[in-house]
């Protein structure tokens, strides 16, 4: 029985991270049909926000307040990632609705840019970037209207951005001569996010030893799930989101501002990625590659769970969590010591974390053969338009 509890808890612990990481992706994919490859990088932004908040607490605020920095980081990370997501939606994704494969490629491009951005960003870089963007916008504002209705307008548009871009680079290079401006904010190195003391220990519940960080993440997951569920089911905007999901054209006709709904959905999905980013700082490394470590797992969860149902996401994540744990820790061997030789060899072969991953992914691929639309498929005429 101990083993059972242990397995359940550890599976839950692994699964809850997956739920939290995949939740935002599931919301966006389920409601908008958009696979956001930059989801992992939005998580990374959340983690970097945590780092900044932690440093502010360390540097400015009294020591007594340090333990709660993580609680402050949660809403801030939501805001930062959410706003980044909003920007992404307004500039890129909006133009690609109905072209899911193109969206996938474009968001992958965004993810590369975000990764390199946190590696490269320094004060000089940031100032140069801001100058370039602001100048680019101002050029369009302060030039004669007539210029923008000419044959050569596209060239002017592109050209003005190239020029302002170069101005930005020049400014950044000049500033970069000064060491103050040249210092990268984060650099390519992993950064050190230290959990507050109360999240570093563990609690013994009966025979199971539960790390506090894990419990915190499980609680956070439950809260996030409840909030998202409440928002989608009970609030006005949630209702609108659901309406748009079911019938975009009809909702448009009924006066639902579908563009705002899309933006809002994306903001929430991205914000949730930020929250997940805070959570994973408790478990692992924080660096530019953070997103890549989680993104594929998130996809698996979403695909396995099926589209549009939170329950599917939760079940899929927990399923993957428990399966990875059972296979990876080889605990089957303990339950059934007298198993046949061949089976024993197979299980031992897969009982390393590395090979467990192979098996779990392979099982997902096989499972999708039986249930191509995931655990909770959409039914009815809508499925294949």
């Amino acid at each position: 029985m101990d083993l059972l509890y242990d397995t359940l808890f550890n599976g839950l612990a692994i699964g809850s991270v997956l739920v939290l990481a995949a939740l935002g992706l599931a919301v966006v994919f389920g409601l908008m049909g958009v696979i956001n490859m930059a989801h992992g990088e939005l998580m990374m932004l959340g983690a970097y926000t945590t780092f900044v908040v932690q440093n502010i607490f360390k540097a400015v605020l009294p020591d007594a307040l340090f333990p709660i920095y993580i609680l402050v980081a949660l809403p801030l990370a939501f805001a930062v990632s959410g706003l980044a997501g909003l920007l992404l939606e307004k500039t890129v994704i909006r133009r690609l609705y109905g072209r899911p494969l193109e969206t996938l490629l474009a968001t992958w491009g965004v993810s590369l840019i975000l990764q390199q951005f946190v590696r490269s960003v320094s004060s000089a870089f940031a100032i140069g970037l801001v100058v370039a963007v602001v100048a680019g916008i101002l050029v369009a504002r302060f030039t004669p209207k007539a210029w923008w209705q000419q044959r050569w307008t596209p060239l002017l548009g592109t050209g003005s951005w190239i020029v302002t871009g170069l101005v930005g680079v020049a400014i950044a290079s000049l500033l970069g001569e000064q060491r103050v401006f040249d210092q990268p904010w984060f650099s390519a190195r992993n950064i050190d996010v230290t959990a507050p003391e109360w999240l570093r220990g563990s609690i013994d519940v009966g025979v199971v030893n539960m790390p506090a960080a894990r419990l915190f993440i499980i609680a956070l997951t439950v809260v996030a799930l409840c909030l998202v569920n409440w928002f989608l089911q009970k609030s006005v905007w949630g209702m609108r989101i659901r309406a748009v999901t079911q019938n975009r054209t009809m909702s448009d006709c009924l006066g639902i501002p579908t563009q705002k709904v899309d933006a809002l959905t994306f903001l929430i999905g991205s914000g949730l990625a930020g929250v997940a980013g805070v959570a994973v700082t408790l478990l692992g490394s924080v660096g530019p590659n953070l997103g890549g470590n989680y993104i594929v797992d998130c996809f698996m969860v979403v695909v396995l769970g099926g589209v549009g149902k939170l329950a599917g996401t939760v079940l899929a994540a927990l399923g993957i969590g428990i399966l990875s744990y059972v296979v990876g820790s080889g605990s089957l061997l303990l339950v059934w010591p007298a198993m046949p030789e061949g089976l024993n060899a197979v299980i031992t072969f897969f009982a390393t974390t590395s090979m467990a991953k192979v098996l779990v992914f392979a099982l997902i691929v096989v499972f999708l053969q039986i249930r191509p639309a995931g655990l909770f498929p959409q039914k009815g005429r809508m499925v294949e338009a």
Binding site: A13, Q116, A213, L282, N293, S329, T353, S354
Partner: protein, 425 residues
Amino acid sequence: MRKTSLRLLGGATALATSLSLVACGGGEKAGGDFDGEVKVGILHSRSGTMAISENTVAEAELMAIDEINAKGGITIDGKKLKIVPVEEDGASDWPTFAEKATKLIDQDKVAVVFGGWTSASRKAMLPVFEAKDHFLFYPIQYEGQECSKNIFYSGAAPNQQAEPAVDWLLKNKGKDFFLVGSDYVYPRTANTIMKEQLKANGGKVVGEDYLPLGNTEVAPIIAKIKQALPKGGVIVNTLNGDSNVAFFKQMKAAGITPANGYSIMSFSIAEEEIAAIGPEYLEGTYAAWNYFQSLDTPASKEFTKNFKAKYGDKRVTNDPAEAAYMMVYLWAAAAEKANSVDDNKVREALVGVSFDAPEGKVTVQPNHHVEKLVLIGEVQKDGMFKILENKGFVKPVAWNQYVPETKGFTCDWTQKRPDAGKYKM
């Protein structure tokens, strides 16, 4: 740092600026004090996952080059030559390392290449250097079982790091070992060696597990450790990069800590990694290296001081940086001794060359490795190591003597036999 930043900024509209920057970079000429120049290649990952670690190594190499140049470069045939580094990016991708190595040799005609970090990147470059009969200087502690005519290893062989560490653990900390590593060649091979060593010396391996590179979910491993070592024991950690952070954070949360009777020895965690993981999580764990920043010698202090002055106050030095720094000097010394920068002549001159490195006076051995100082340290609150044991200088052994397949084999490039790389003693 400044030049990199200039380049970074170029990224915003990189294509437009790249030309001008390349032009600037190419415009540098040998200064008036020099009679000529000699090009050397620096090939490390400046982008991708490994950039985290390899940047420091590249910086140490550049620092050594600058220092040598400041003292007048290297003297060949009575001419003072300036060392000009040609930097390339391996991009954390093994095939790219092979490509860039080819480029450095064929295109840039460098005299020597300093580069690599992961064993996989070295293995990818090895055939290039063998096919072109060129010379690679490799600065990282590695798994041994290799002795190439075309590679000089300035990092530790297993008998200069892993084996003494295991001996120390057996003597002081216990007989039950759990081995954790990243799923690639160094941890796999190092663990193979350690298993043989433990078998020979009365230790016992109670479990081992491997984590895919970049994986951050270590709950199954922790469960295995708890099953295998319920009351505490020895954990040998050869994880690489990101996984270490997850490993230590989650170990701490699960109560697998020095305070609860677990002795954790890591082979890939140096001062730099401690800063990134956070000393809170590592305090009280052990590491074995050939150099610690806390090593209290004038040469060591000088090295750290110069490094900080050049790259920033917050930076730390570590073993890989020291090995990288030292190998540039060793190459320069060998070139001066050979009175040529030709790789074949340098190779012959190299054996026996000495240098007063930060860790002490090191001498190149006939098997293209270096005799190195072996240190065991414990992580302190401030992120530095307290040196628990100094085993003195140890001669390198390339072919491992615990592993049955290589037992009795040795490598000696001063021998004129065709199988000098691996022959029965």
